[in-house]
């Protein structure tokens, strides 16, 4: 296709758009209300601004470069679509809802073409075809960016989860605490437990508190991991206290028939800390002068 033809085609789209922006915008917004508008995720004014910006860019770009989405002149358009798509991915839009941003422009533009090319079916068909191609390319591009930004998000979250690897904290000389967050039946468990045993050796601690406040479910596998750790710590000369046993977890453990009688358990980390201090023979006295 020669440059002139391209420009000609572009020029036609410009004709369709110019002077009709307001109307197309209104119809486009209406179209989206029916199919993809998420008032809960994006503000009406924000969406309107995006659409206006999109139409403006579309007019400028097609005027200069025709309808070939691959041409470098479409750079600003790609950038804008990319931003829109990434924004949607972050806001929690579904992929289809994101793609519909572009696709819902079809009907308003087609209606416009139909009005302008009344009687000239060949020209109408040609114009519709090139417009469909352009909008499809844009829609696909939106999906690509959406997919990619979702993947980036997942990768980042995975990395953050690894970073979250449970730290062993020292509460007092001789008292360690291991606050566990999340599920305890994965490969992570092994790492968590090993780090506790390591820390017991390094700090020469006699008491270790395992806090399970952040563990949503305690089933037999989780209990087994806990019991193993307690036993291993005991072999190393440290006593373990399990804290953060919530009422619902306590009832579940009873029904499951897990025997935790050999283990000291407490409802809160504070209670467990107090027991640990007691066992080490440490006590605090309120300063009468200050109270």
């Amino acid at each position: 296709m020669s440059e002139m033809q391209l420009n000609q085609k572009g020029a036609k789209l410009v004709d369709i758009l110019s002077g009709q922006e307001e109307r197309i915008l209104a119809e486009w917004m209406k179209e989206m209300t029916g199919s993809t508008r998420r008032g809960d995720l994006i503000k009406e004014s924000e969406l309107r601004a995006e659409c206006t910006q999109f139409l403006k860019l579309l007019k400028q770009t097609t005027e200069a470069a025709g309808t070939d989405f691959q041409s470098p002149s479409f750079g600003p358009m790609r950038e804008m679509l990319g931003d829109v798509s990434r924004g949607r991915a972050q806001k929690g839009f579904k992929p289809s809802e994101t793609a519909t941003f572009v696709f819902s422009l079809k009907r308003p533009l087609f209606d416009q073409i139909q009005t302008q090319y009344k009687g000239d079916t060949d020209a109408m068909a040609a114009e519709m075809w090139s417009l469909t191609e352009l909008l499809d390319a844009m829609g696909l591009y939106t999906m690509e960016v959406f997919q990619k930004s979702r993947e980036d998000m997942i990768r980042r979250q995975q990395e953050e989860l690894l970073e979250l690897s449970t730290p062993v904290v020292k509460l007092w000389d001789g008292i360690l605490a291991l606050p566990i967050i999340g599920t305890l039946d994965s490969a992570r468990t092994q790492v968590v437990m090993e780090s506790l045993l390591q820390a017991i050796v390094q700090t020469n601690s006699r008491m270790a508190i395992i806090d399970i406040t952040g563990v949503p479910t305690v089933d037999t596998v989780v209990a087994q991991h806990l019991l193993k750790t307690v036993t291993a710590a005991r072999l190393m000369g440290a006593d373990c206290i399990i804290s953060g046993v919530r009422p619902q977890i306590a009832q579940t453990i009873v029904h499951l028939g897990i025997n935790l009688l050999d283990v000291t358990t407490k409802a809160t980390l504070a209670a467990a800390f107090s027991v640990a201090l007691q066992r080490l023979g440490i006590s605090f006295v309120r300063d009468a002068a200050k109270s």
Binding site: T183, D185, S186, P216, T217, V218, D219, T220, V221, A223, Q224, P247, Q248, I249, Q251, T252, H255, L256, G257, I258
Partner: protein, 133 residues
Amino acid sequence: MAVVSTENVPVKTEPDVVTVRRRVREVSSQLGLSLVDQTKIITAASELARNTIIYGGGGSMQVQTLNGPRVGLRLTFEDNGPGIPDVDLALRDGFTTGSGLGLGLGGSKRLVNEFEIFSKPGAGTRITITRWK
């Protein structure tokens, strides 16, 4: 008794156990089960899902919400694994052919209101549990 909704969740690999727990948590809290009841059925689902993977070689979980006269949640775990030769023995606390505590099957029975198990050697296992509101 009317089934309000039915959906299937694959139970094939270890990470699926997490998905199972999350899904059961969502559905049971939507149904308005108390926190204790939620925790009970989530824990039972966790046990049975893991059994499905470890002993059944993978299968699926069907989630059904029930209504009228009572509101409840019914989960069906199904696999085409080797099956359980002696169900009574398998339900006994402390019995295991694996490396666990041997409390999962009997424990999950105690965590729910209704517990049904069908299993034949070579024909797989199907366990249905129900927790009423």
